[in-house]
């Protein structure tokens, strides 16, 4: 008997239960990764700078994220007198929410098969398969900037405002390059759905069947330029270190989150790491074949995500911060023309060979 895809129409109760389970698991795994990414970051950067990183709390400092969380939770929550209260409280939520929502469309494994009352169902390991998945992710990335802008404006402090202005300029410029580099991907895959893109990457490499069957058509091999542009562009979009001018602590105290304290400050931190996980997951899905690979689906996917996270941390430990004019110059004069050129090249190639 062929298994049927579990949907709202053929088994509503089961579908709802599966959906809830998927959301809960994805959310808690994401939160776990976010918590321990802070520990890994401190450890790895410590090692790279010949320090030890956290060692005191628990074995190898493993309880450090929990200690940090408890500390931040019990700190006094200060809202400045001159701040606009509503926007001040809203900003940390608005920066965290888009990062979490983006995870909803990312496929993290092969379809899971189970039998219930004699019927075999297929459950796709993806919270929802939108047929505009890529556009949805780009839209959510675009909304992420509001949290930072609001934080900068609502704090009513000059450092926050400067941080907010820098952030909005930077995010607009780099979103463009990152978005345009994805266009080349869906010219090849001919679909906007992320599970469709993963399926397209399981074809033989470059469409040549003479290669051994384990060589799959991951888009990093046909679109290396787009891959580079996307990773650099998204790193700038989520304000990771070579591009962390919005919170450059040597010039702006702490940028847009200067006035924040307690759990609100913790939310900004969580948003930064959640964004990092999301960007890693998106890059893995678009360019490295998603859950495709030698191990069971979810494990491949996690390996790729952790690889990207390590890469981001590594970059943070090695690169100095860019100057602001260099940042803008790179965004508009280097990355944007490269992305557009890549689209033209891909279009010609698709016309010639497909």
């Amino acid at each position: 008997m062929t298994p049927e895809v579990l949907s709202l129409s053929n088994a509503p109760a089961l579908w709802a239960a599966a959906m809830l389970a998927k959301i809960l698991v994805a959310f808690s795994v994401l939160m776990g990764i976010v918590a321990y990414a802070t520990w890994v970051e401190r450890k790895v950067i410590g090692r790279m700078q010949t320090r030890l990183g956290p060692t005191m709390t628990g074995p190898k400092g493993l309880l450090q994220p929990i200690a940090d969380g408890i500390k931040l939770f019990f700190k006094e929550d200060i809202i400045p007198n001159e701040a606009s209260k509503f926007a001040f409280v809203l900003a940390p939520m608005m920066i965290l929410a888009p990062a979490l929502i983006s995870m909803a469309v990312i496929p993290f494994g092969n379809a899971y098969e189970f039998t219930f009352q004699g019927v075999t169902y297929l459950v796709p390991l993806q919270i929802t398969d939108l047929n505009i998945g890529v556009l949805f992710i780009m839209a959510m990335a675009g909304l992420g900037v509001y949290g930072i802008v609001l934080a900068g404006l609502a704090s009513n402090s000059k450092y926050s405002l400067l941080g907010g202005i820098r952030a909005s300029a930077q995010m607009i410029s780099y979103e463009l390059a990152a978005g345009l580099s994805i266009i080349a991907i869906f010219m090849l895959s001919e679909t906007l759905s992320l599970s469709g893109i993963v399926a397209a990457q399981q074809q033989p490499l470059w469409g040549i069947t003479a290669f051994p069957s384990w060589m799959h058509n991951w888009y990093i091999f046909s679109q290396p330029l787009a891959f580079g542009l996307f990773v650099v562009g998204s790193m700038a979009e989520i304000n990771r270190t070579p591009f962390d001018l919005p919170e450059a602590e040597t010039e702006l105290v702490s940028g847009f989150c200067t006035e924040y304290s307690s759990m609100k400050y913790a939310l900004f931190f969580m948003a930064e790491y959640a964004n990092m996980v999301t960007i890693s997951a998106i890059s893995a899905t678009l360019f490295l074949g998603g859950w495709d690979g030698p191990f069971p689906g979810v494990i491949n996917f996690l390996i790729k995500v952790f690889g990207f996270m390590f890469f981001f941390i590594w970059i943070r430990a090695t690169f100095p911060r860019l100057r602001y004019d260099q940042l803008m110059q790179m965004g508009w004069k280097v990355m944007l023309p490269l992305a557009i050129g890549n689209i033209v090249l891909t279009a010609v190639a698709v016309l010639l060979w497909q």
Binding site: A87, I132, A141, Y146, L161, A169
Partner: protein, 167 residues
């Protein structure tokens, strides 16, 4: 279910559109406008137009409004208060009542419910909304599309020339 959601989003959209004009600080106006855009995107999804919804959020909420807020921040209007204008109130009110009547007439004359023509909900679901828009744009409406892109190119060139320093 769908009509409950429709009334929810429509109410929020109208409410926030009202506050775009009522709110005193320009930043708050901008944020209310973003709320309106997001509600409109939700309405697009209910009309089986997910591509339009994504583009609505990406372009309007994600790019244009961010630029507007950026300009507001640069001009430091955040603390400035808009003056109260009353001279346009009467004519503006008359105009909107007139528009309401015209819309009402147009809706009552035709058949507003149901989708007419080749494109039905089934076609959209089997063929895909993005594909349909792409096909229409690059076959039936190629000339308007090209004219629009040339218009945009002219605007870009104009912006570059206006902001360019002497070489």
């Amino acid at each position: 279910m769908l009509s409950i959601l429709f009334y929810l989003f429509a109410t929020v959209a109208v409410f926030s559109a009202f506050y775009v004009t009522k709110s005193r600080s320009p930043v708050n106006s901008a944020l209310w406008l973003v709320t309106t855009f997001i509600c409109l995107a939700a309405l697009y999804i209910m009309l089986d137009a997910p591509f339009m919804a994504a583009i609505q959020i990406m372009v309007y909420a994600g790019a244009i409004m961010v630029l507007i807020i950026f300009v507001i921040m640069l001009l430091n209007l955040g603390t400035a208060v808009k003056k109260r204008y009353t001279h346009a109130l009467v004519w503006g009110g008359a105009m909107s009542v007139l528009m309401l009547f015209v819309t009402n007439f147009l809706i009552r004359r035709g058949v507003p419910t149901g989708k007419l023509g080749d494109v039905t909900t089934q076609t959209i679901q089997s063929y895909g909304h993005t594909e349909l828009i792409g096909k229409a744009m690059f076959t039936d409406f190629l000339l308007p599309f090209e004219i629009a892109s040339i218009l945009l190119l002219v605007a870009i060139v104009g912006a570059v020339i206006l902001s360019k320093r002497e070489v």
